[in-house]
Symmetry: C2
């Protein structure tokens, strides 16, 4: 660990802030066609910053949608290579009237920088670039090799980078990936995320009568597609919330006792969580603590359902068709294809009489786990602990970060998920913010991680 | 029975046909604002025809929507009074390209008259007027008293006539109502409908979390409003289709053994019915024959459901809200208010944990039964049998005809449901038709009913 890097960061805080503000002023909203020039401008800004930090082989790579930015510095033979990932695109800012200050005019209040993209992900990805700059300024070179691959489509599905990673494994060869697009579990608590849930997402369609029927003339003897779908989906879980699909839990790998113990020590309040949910009580498998339910247990959800008459007033129709969007979150060691097959089979077998079903698979990706004993994880944890002066906690995330799966699948590497957001940063919401102290300490932590992982 | 009335009808067939065609040429589509003048023209046509038939006190009564037409002839003191009901409005004709001949250019093919409204209900209501004309022509006067109340809103809810009946019970005083807006069970089979199901119609709304949540971050511990509603509604019926709401079947009056026997003798083919439904099999309470299920058993249907994400692609949301339209068809002796209360109670008690529910009642009307021993029914059956040379069958209808309930509630009278449509007449569909022989024989049957009921 080099005290010089910390000093350099401290001396350059003001400049680092101004640079980030410049980045945040670009409204690079990837989902809105009218912002395509801004998205391209943001890609150019990233490329320029990478160049300024001393990176080489900089490329702005055109894709079917928005450009990728690649760069590398590979002059540390024998040392590990870290693949830094982030995204320069942001969510739309509406509803604009709920912002206290304009979303693309970054504003400092109470130690936080308010702007769309401040935490997700411009503020976090920019730290990787600054960490490289700091190390080059302090040491003249880098303690290890780095590659950067930054995308502009994360908020709209990230298809281009997925294809690029699949097609360019040699170009992207690395020992580990580094992603800063997650949160710290609580303010001041250094956090590494070492598990993600996977997802299989399906559409289920149910058909009953050949056409909508009059419920007066046929009610009591004709199958109802909406009720059929309701009956079918209700069978998926019992009243305790346990999924009844045979084999669904077969391959679930339970978290280790050590991991469970560490979760139990986290500053987690079920009451606060319930407040965030905003319902009268929580649900799910009662025998598992809440964090285990959302991090390490597979789920079955119905995301939407539609069928029959839903306009104003009444219409006495027996609906011919109904459809639902459903998904299962998966945990490590569950095979998405096996789960899809089990769901398909269950739906076929349990369809009520008179109801035909059709299942379409929209996506299927596995859960992922990073071994906390992996040297990169161990070192990242130490670097975080040093900077934040608290033991680093290991958590999981109940959602999916598809790129982490792509890195595992195509590059064969684990990912260090070192996030510096805070739970109240308001990602995707009005008044998104980023805690400035985390920005500066994060740059230090990343620099220290590079130093230590490079053996300095 | 007077052979003279039959002779008069036969001698005037051509004129009766031309008059009906003139009526059918008026596109009195009540739901389309651009046809409002046509609807008014049709009301005027009806008034003029009533006058021509010798009726008196003719009124075209303005309402909030479309006019009612009233007329009476009350010069048979001591004799019963029949209130004739029908409607002069029709359904829209689209899709026009499916009509073999234009919907408002009545065309004769194979003994059927093709036009929108031919059977529903212009052709049938016009027979009441012709029956009066025939009797006046043959006998110089009528054997009983009649009132006519014809509406122009039947296809759009019939609110105006409901209000009018409720507000004018003295003006409409009668012993029995006569409605010809139903079908014969099979061609050539004279039919009286003596039972209708009632209907309670409700909206059920379920709320889970305060807002839509990310299923990655909350899935496994947060209640899902769509799944909650699914779970709740699935509990309403068991796998045999039996409603599980306590008290739901308590007051159901079973059809008499004689009625059930008569249904068993009807020319009903379950195979044909299944073909009409168009599904792989029928459903419902297995211990009841199909006709009993659709005529004399209460039902629970979900007419529509909506909630969460239902667009293209996938969105991993835990929905905050979901809503369904549901109804129960009721049979005679069930109290709609009691059933509404039972449904409300069930929904409140069975709502899954974390799910709040709200129930809104959109309508509630009881099932109705006419005593087949009522003199008007007995006489109507005899009149039909004489004309069609087959024993009259007594059936029920699984749907509701709200005006029949209004007559019962506000005027305290039963209704003779003497319909002459055929199951393949295509009501509300392209190529609607009316079987001409039924038109002429129906006029005779109605005239005979008036004669006999008036004691001639």
């Amino acid at each position: 660990m080099s005290a010089a890097t910390n000093t350099f960061v401290k001396e350059n805080e003001q400049r680092f802030l101004e640079e980030l503000k410049e980045f945040l002023r670009i409204p690079s909203i990837s989902t809105l066609p009218e912002h395509k020039p801004d998205v391209e401008r943001a890609a150019g800004f990233v490329a320029e910053q990478l160049r300024h930090a001393g990176l080489e082989n900089i490329e702005i790579i055109s894709t079917a949608k928005h450009p990728l930015v690649y760069a590398d510095w590979l002059h540390a033979p024998g040392k590990p290579t870290v693949l830094c990932y982030g995204h320069y695109d942001v969510q739309p800012a509406d509803p604009l009237e709920l912002w206290q200050t304009p979303p693309f005019e970054p504003t400092l209040r109470d130690g936080n920088l308010y702007a769309r993209g401040a935490a997700d992900d411009k503020g976090q990805m920019y730290m990787h670039i600054k960490a490289v700059e700091v190390l080059r300024a302090v040491h003249g070179n880098l303690p290890l090799n780095v590659r950067f691959l930054i995308e502009g489509e994360e908020e709209v599905g990230g298809e281009s980078i997925a294809r690029y990673v699949a097609e360019n494994p040699d170009k992207l060869r690395a020992d580990v990936a580094l992603v800063s697009d997650t949160e710290m579990f609580a303010p001041g608590l250094p956090t590494l995320c070492i598990g993600l849930r996977g997802l299989v997402y399906l559409e289920v369609e149910a058909s009953g009568p050949a056409r909508d029927l009059h419920s007066g003339l046929f009610g009591g003897a004709a199958p109802n597609a909406v009720f059929g779908l309701i009956e079918l989906l209700a069978k998926v879980k019992n009243l305790r919330g346990e999924v009844q699909i045979p084999g669904f839990y077969d391959d679930v790998e339970a978290p280790s006792p050590a991991e469970k113990e560490s979760w139990a020590r986290l500053p987690f309040s079920e009451k606060e969580f319930l407040k965030e949910v905003g319902s009268s009580r929580l649900t799910g498998e009662p025998k598992y603590p809440v964090l285990e339910r959302i991090w390490a247990r597979p789920t079955f959800e119905v995301h939407g359902i539609a069928g029959g008459f839903t306009g104003a007033g009444s219409k006495t129709v027996i609906p011919a068709k109904a459809a639902a969007k459903v998904s299962a979150r998966l945990v490590p060691n569950q095979d998405p294809d096996k789960i899809v097959a089990a769901i398909r089979d269950f739906i076929r077998r349990k369809a009520p009489k008179g109801i035909r079903t059709e299942v379409r698979v929209l996506s299927a990706s596995p859960g992922l786990k990073v071994n906390p004993d992996h040297p990169a994880i161990e070192i990242a944890a130490k670097a975080l602990t040093e900077i934040f002066q608290q033991p680093t906690v290991f958590i999981r995330l109940g959602g999916s970060i598809p790129i982490v799966g792509d890195f595992a699948k195509h590059l064969g590497i684990p990912t260090v998920l070192m996030g510096f957001g805070l739970p109240d940063d308001g990602l995707h919401s009005p008044n998104e913010k980023y805690h400035l102290a985390n920005y500066y300490q994060g740059i230090m932590a990343i620099a220290h991680f590079f130093e230590r992982y490079g053996g300095q």
